[in-house]
Subunit: 283 residues, 2 copies
């Protein structure tokens, strides 16, 4: 895990509060600074980290939305420069066309390296956000090739496959996972789905969830870093305000072989899958 | 779980031994009879249940292969008629072209209802079997619409998606899961991947694994029945020779909604996935 090429990755499980723009910014900044002090070079913070999540209506979301050159992302770029980290975080975006988006950025010392808009909207997000139509960005950073998507996006195996076949070594996912019923002894099902996505693509996945009840929604606090076998590394953060840290050998994700004869990507048979993936779809 | 439309499903975790054709047949028969006596109407038995798995070479596999109208499947049809069950099982097939296949059948009182040939071959299977080129069959039975695939097939999310979008309520999977290293406290990763496939499609999945060491391969014994939330029902069978039984309301799998605004299939965006699912593929 800690070879010469290992990079320390941090996922900050931060308390976020609806509409508390300054408080949210402070908590995110402090978490990122602490992660960098602990040696992290890639830091992931939650979905909608500037605004909170449980909007009363679309107007409230719009009132909290910012352009990508607004204070939240500009501040994150300053932070990334000062700390020399790659920072991935979610924010409530007002896009240049005036649409409100559930977005995420990858920023580093070079500025905003990628902007992603959530393509699969969860529940009442459909009343608030315009979904994105672009695939998850895959980009080379100082520490490896990373990709980004947001929360419910992770549950579509075609969507996680996309950056994986494009060579992403680490998929960073800002999320807000609501607490849903589950049997005793089981971990949140969102983690299980992410484990499957990691293992079936032999790709690291770093998920930063939030905590803090908000307008009667309870968050599960499922921050986790998964290795290419799909196993959690660096611990689970269930429900607590904390940061998960892990030293990852990202080059391990370049090798898709699992034994002498199998390779999880080369073993795919896209010619057989094609019938249900025509552009018009069948469902 | 036990509404008026519930059907009892059994997955028989049987001890199989390489080349012990009569012993394997006896153990499978007894397990299916016991499952039917316990009220099961759909019964799943393991992959390669006639032959065993760890072939020395292709010639040994060929020597144990049978046509679909050979004694194994003919016997299963007789059994299904007598017990009035739908039986799904894997067998080592000699196909009409003389190719050796890792196959599975669905049989019921009407005879052989479907024949499937494993499309994603595991490890040394590539030296022994010709892979199938046809999608997993989806067929209506007296107890609901079921589909079948085999073992490593389950780890390709595109492959499990296919029968799901074609309306399968229950995916039956004969498997032979080798025991692989895993962290303390974790269940076999194959189960986690199947859980994700069940939950992201809201489809039941019934997996019948084997037990019994064979030529230094240890089997994990991961037989499990998963509900449309991806949770195990009826218990886990880890490592023991036993049958997992569960009463399933298969109609629950017809409803893909998970809240007022989300539907795990309608939320898919196949037009965005299409670029990596062109017939020629990209990987």
């Amino acid at each position: 895990m800690t070879g010469v090429t290992a990079v320390r990755v941090a996922c900050c499980q931060v308390r976020i509060a609806i509409g508390d723009v300054n408080g949210n910014a402070d908590r995110v900044w402090r978490a990122v600074e602490a992660a960098a002090s602990a040696g992290a070079r890639i830091v992931v913070v939650p979905e909608l980290a500037n605004s909170g999540y449980v909007f009363t209506d679309a107007a409230e979301a719009r009132s909290l939305a910012e352009p990508v050159d607004g204070p939240t992302v500009t501040g994150w770029v300053d932070l990334a420069r000062r700390l020399d980290v790659v920072l991935v975080g979610g924010f409530c975006e007002l896009d240049p066309d005036g649409q409100v988006r559930n977005s995420a950025v990858v920023v580093d010392a070079g500025g905003v390296r990628a902007l992603y808009r959530k393509a699969h909207l969860w529940d009442r997000e459909k009343l608030v956000f315009t979904p994105g139509d672009a695939p998850p960005p895959v980009l080379d950073t100082a520490y490896g090739r990373i990709a980004v998507m947001i929360c419910y996006d992770l549950e579509f195996a075609e969507w996680t496959r996309l950056p994986a076949v494009r060579g992403a070594q680490l998929l960073c996912a800002p999320v807000n996972w609501p607490s849903l019923p589950r049997p005793d002894g089981e971990r949140p099902s969102e983690i299980i789905r992410a484990q499957a996505a990691a293992a079936t693509n032999r790709m690291y996945i770093a998920v930063a969830d939030r905590v803090g009840d908000e307008r009667r929604v309870e968050w599960v606090g499922g921050t986790v870093i998964l290795d290419p076998d799909g196993w959690p590394v660096g611990g689970l953060a269930l429900g607590r305000e904390m940061t998960v840290l892990a030293d990852l050998d990202l080059d391990a994700a370049l090798d898709k072989r699992i034994n002498e004869h199998n390779d999880v990507h080369a073993d795919r048979r896209p010619e057989l899958y094609a019938p249900i993936y025509r552009p018009q779809g069948i469902s």
